[in-house]
């Protein structure tokens, strides 16, 4: 069954849409589309990007997305005025995470900025669709939605009528066997390039989202202190992305992660220069830009002496991260910046194994706090 919720106007570039030919069944839509686009793919006018790296089963591979984005180069066609097409294939991705959705919300406008037409194929996960439909992307992009399945996309009207209590109730705490993540609000998509007015509007949105996150935490049974610290950390991390990332796009999302056990999770992603380079810019430590990103990340949490300047690190967000893992047993913080990553948990600080420690490629910060399972 074909469902067209946004009218049938032809796709115009730049645009993002979810398409599947009417005659193609859902199960085979992806493969048939690939076959149909084979000449374009062979000619280099389109690029097929599998999103299975964002599957919840492959969280260790999530960093690949940003590397894919950083390596994305539209073909000659875009230079000649013919839009290059980036096809984001969700067909083999079952469930995903909040962090993955935040990265996705950064990736799409990033690709558009590169002159690409973005086509999302088979976003079977409801929140992926929601990310596209309601994540403010339709305001910044020429958005069009064509879905081929009789699903129940959440319209903006439904969203506005959904109370916080309702959003909480539909979460997995009621044992609903839904996708892995239930976003508690539409993801914020922050355009970092625009005017002071735009920035101000983004900040107000982030402030409201921070408050909603705090209230959600309490509704979901978190202690006041944990919930308030999460809310405070969310604001700090968004502030860092807005102020220090030097990127074009950032995204913030929060929701309930259902598998393998209920957790409140929020994530902030950006396509900026990375923590190491941002710290160098901020503190004028130009000489330390060669220090690997993973050394910066470790230094943030170990009070290490970097370039003889002790005490400049960990002034805001990192203190709150430490507090969350000490306040909430089982809480986890993951930071991925450039080619490096760091995991912070209870009595645990584990720098990730990075294939290469490079600056840039953006930053993704995820905080996850366990929720008590209700009957």
């Amino acid at each position: 069954m074909r469902r067209d919720t946004k009218g049938a106007a032809p796709l115009r570039a730049p645009a993002v849409g979810i398409i599947a030919p009417a005659a193609v069944r859902y199960a085979t839509a992806s493969e048939e589309l690939r076959q149909a686009l084979l000449p374009e793919l062979v000619a280099g006018r389109a690029r097929w990007i599998s999103m299975d790296g964002l599957d919840i089963k492959h969280t260790q591979r999530h960093g690949r997305l940003l590397r894919t984005a950083a390596s994305y180069r539209p073909g000659l066609s875009s230079v000649l005025g013919v839009p290059h097409t980036a096809i984001l294939d969700w067909s083999s991705t079952g469930s995903t995470t909040v962090a993955a959705l935040a990265q996705f919300a950064v990736l799409v406008p990033w690709l558009i900025d590169q002159g690409a037409v973005v086509v999302c194929v088979e976003p079977s996960n409801r929140d992926v669709a929601r990310c596209l439909e309601q994540g403010a992307l339709e305001h910044v992009l020429n958005f069009r939605w064509v879905d081929n399945r009789p699903t129940l996309p959440i319209s903006r009207g439904d969203e506005s009528s959904m109370s916080l209590l309702g959003a909480t109730r539909i979460s997995t705490l009621s044992q609903r066997p839904a996708g892995a993540v239930d976003l508690l609000a539409s993801p914020l998509v922050l355009d970092l390039r625009h005017s002071a007015d735009t920035q101000r509007a983004h900040k107000e949105q982030a402030g409201a989202a921070s408050a909603l996150l705090g209230q959600s935490g309490v509704s979901l049974g978190l202690r006041d202190a944990v919930s308030s610290t999460c809310s405070a950390l969310f604001l700090e991390v968004v502030a860092n992305a807005l102020t220090h990332s030097a990127g074009n796009w950032a995204s913030a999302a929060f929701g309930v992660l259902n598998e393998p056990e209920p957790r409140l999770e929020f994530a902030v992603a950006d396509d900026g220069i990375g923590i190491g380079a941002a710290m160098s810019r901020r503190f004028g430590l130009w000489g330390v830009h060669r220090i690997p990103e993973r050394a910066w990340l470790a230094a943030l949490f170990t009070d290490a002496d970097v370039d003889g300047r002790r005490g400049i690190l960990g002034r805001g967000a990192t203190l709150l991260m430490r507090e969350i893992v000490s306040l909430a047993p089982g809480a986890e913080i993951n930071i991925r910046s450039g080619g490096a990553s760091l995991h912070l948990g209870e009595n645990l600080l584990r720098p990730g194994i990075a294939a290469s420690a490079s600056h840039g490629l953006g930053t993704v910060i995820t905080c996850s706090v366990p929720l008590a399972r209700r009957a």
Partner: protein, 190 residues
Amino acid sequence: MNTRAEDIFAIRELAANRTTFMDEEDVAGLEPKLWSQLKQLREGATLRVSFAGVKMASGAARKLLDRVLRRIQSGELRGRGLVLDDLSRSVSYNIRVMLLSEKLCAVARVDGAPPTLLGDVEEALKSTFEFVATRDDATARDIQDHFKLNTVAAATNRLARLQRIGALRRDGPRPLEGGGIEYVFQAVAR
């Protein structure tokens, strides 16, 4: 002396109903206003900085409060006090991490609770302040009795340190029966 007279510095109103402050730029215009209002305060009065309806990240809090608190704690604003009021829990966390990293502390009311000290401060000083804030005033002997300290000098030391950081103001001296003098301390907010 009109004790605990409070003027209000309402951030939201002064920032044209803006509610979220993320970075230094957002509060750049507020810091001079705050300093100016503090200087105009008469001696013995307290300026209540109201965070009602406001979300603030640590970067903005640093810009707004860092210099002001340092100048208060250097004794530049003799007898005048500052209290951070109407703080929600989450904003108090953002401000606290700023104060911790800058090794500062401030008097604050969080979630409508009685005033406390926020930031980089010893537990003994914090509890002493909270005790003084429950009373009209307190002397070193009151502190010694309440906390069962061995010497009155230890109590005096606590009060003097709280005065230096701008949490208490000192009145007196007044003569003691049997000779000697004593100072009376009042919390800048209660």
